[in-house]
Symmetry: C2
Subunit: 225 residues, 2 copies
DNA sequence: ATGAAATAATGAGCATACTCATATTTTGCT
DNA sequence: AGCAAAATATGAGTATGCTCATTATTTCAT
């Protein structure tokens, strides 16, 4: 159904120079498309942005767009990839957090994520939750090693593993990471609906949920996860 | 964006007879569309079924279809309404379950649900998980009182409340119901990906998860949910 | 430099969900 | 029955995501 977007098919004869002029131009075009698309998505919303508008504003033909991205949805996915990357990098830079209890870390991650995506609320609403659909590259339990979610799951796994190793929590393993991912999606979903000023209800929910998690996780002992 | 599907607009002058010949015909057409659509969805999948095919097989014009259902997705939603209704009715009929511990009830509900929808796996994969999207009538925290989810949430709430009243679990309230709904969606999502024979991995996950839930819920005490 | 081969860009065209002005049927009243 | 109004059905038309045969550009060996 989908044509794979062609990627970095550099010639075998020229492995030395990492970016020939052709590749460079392609990279520029790709970046331009991405920029324009995100612009339109966040100002007009995902559904009301047409691929024609995107290609027009990016100065390319309609067909060219699909040489770079297989589907309109794919285009949106790159946005989330970027955001995830930012999130992870932020976390690794945030030294004070490293010493905090696990639950604080998790709260901070979700909170930061919401802050990051909040300028794009409409757009997120339209696309993000496709994450749970089987076909989506965003799916949390997708086995596709290229997938965005694997990246997310590994990240969370590591955060959890650290807490496990220090005996802060019982071993929760992959299932724990998966559960948290699901929780995270749930919070985003709630956030999208939250009409309270400053999204305070979401923050309250987040707070309460993590209190519950703290209670649950505090007990040592084997749980048979 | 969506035109509301016209509904039961019987004449004020004729409130006595509950189903005039006209209404009856409409009901029949509606039912026929639903039957044909479900048929096609489950045999050819959601995306590969066109609205033209549906209207053709139902013996109506293409436009007529949209007099009855505002969108193709809407058409699919009716399926889930039916399934939910079946699920609830099944539960209320299942006397032995009423005395079982809460966790067993919850396991049974999810398990039964999976059994029910399993003939329609492809179709479910394409549509069901839109539940989490804000615009969807299926959304768990939709405030639309007509919504399917409210029905589901009320159902779960009641099951939980019963256990609360008997002191089996601490008070978990709406948040508890919401959490379970999210869990349920997560399981369905997992199930859709599960390629193991007889979906045994899903069953194992379900089992483990509910064991964890049992451990967590067993402790009395105030939790500050 | 030159020609051929590889790569990329193009836009007319397609499929399909959905709209809407018009035509048809039904209803209620006399 | 006969008429006007209301309800319903119709299908040509529209918008848009995406395809693909064709054209244009770049690369590389000679």
């Amino acid at each position: 159904m989908k044509r794979p977007a062609p990627k970095a098919s550099r010639r075998a004869q020229n492995p030395a120079s990492d970016a020939g002029p052709r590749q460079k131009k392609k990279d520029q075009t790709r970046a331009r498309i991405l920029r324009v698309a995100l612009d339109l998505f966040s100002s007009r919303g995902f559904y009301r942005t047409t691929t024609r508008q995107i290609s027009r504003k990016a100065g390319i033909a309609e067909g060219t767009l699909f040489n770079y991205f297989a589907t309109k949805e794919d285009l949106a996915l790159y946005f989330f990839e970027q955001e995830l990357e930012k999130l992870i990098q932020w976390f690794e830079r945030e030294k004070p957090l490293r010493k905090a209890p696990l639950v604080e870390k998790l709260f901070a991650i979700v909170h930061r994520h919401l802050e990051q995506i909040s300028p794009f609320e409409d757009f997120v609403g339209a696309v993000y939750l496709r994450a749970l659909q089987p076909a989506s590259k965003l799916h949390p339990i997708s086995l596709d090693s290229q997938s965005l979610n694997l990246r997310y799951l590994r990240f969370i796994r590591e955060v959890l593993a650290e807490a496990e190793n220090e005996g802060e929590i019982p071993p929760v393993g992959d299932l724990g990471a998966w559960a948290f991912a699901l929780f995270h999606v749930g919070i985003v979903s709630f956030w999208l609906h939250d009409a309270s000023p400053g999204k305070e209800r979401t923050l309250a929910l987040l707070d309460r949920s993590l209190k519950v998690a703290r209670t649950i996780l505090r007990r040592g002992g084997d749980w048979n996860w």
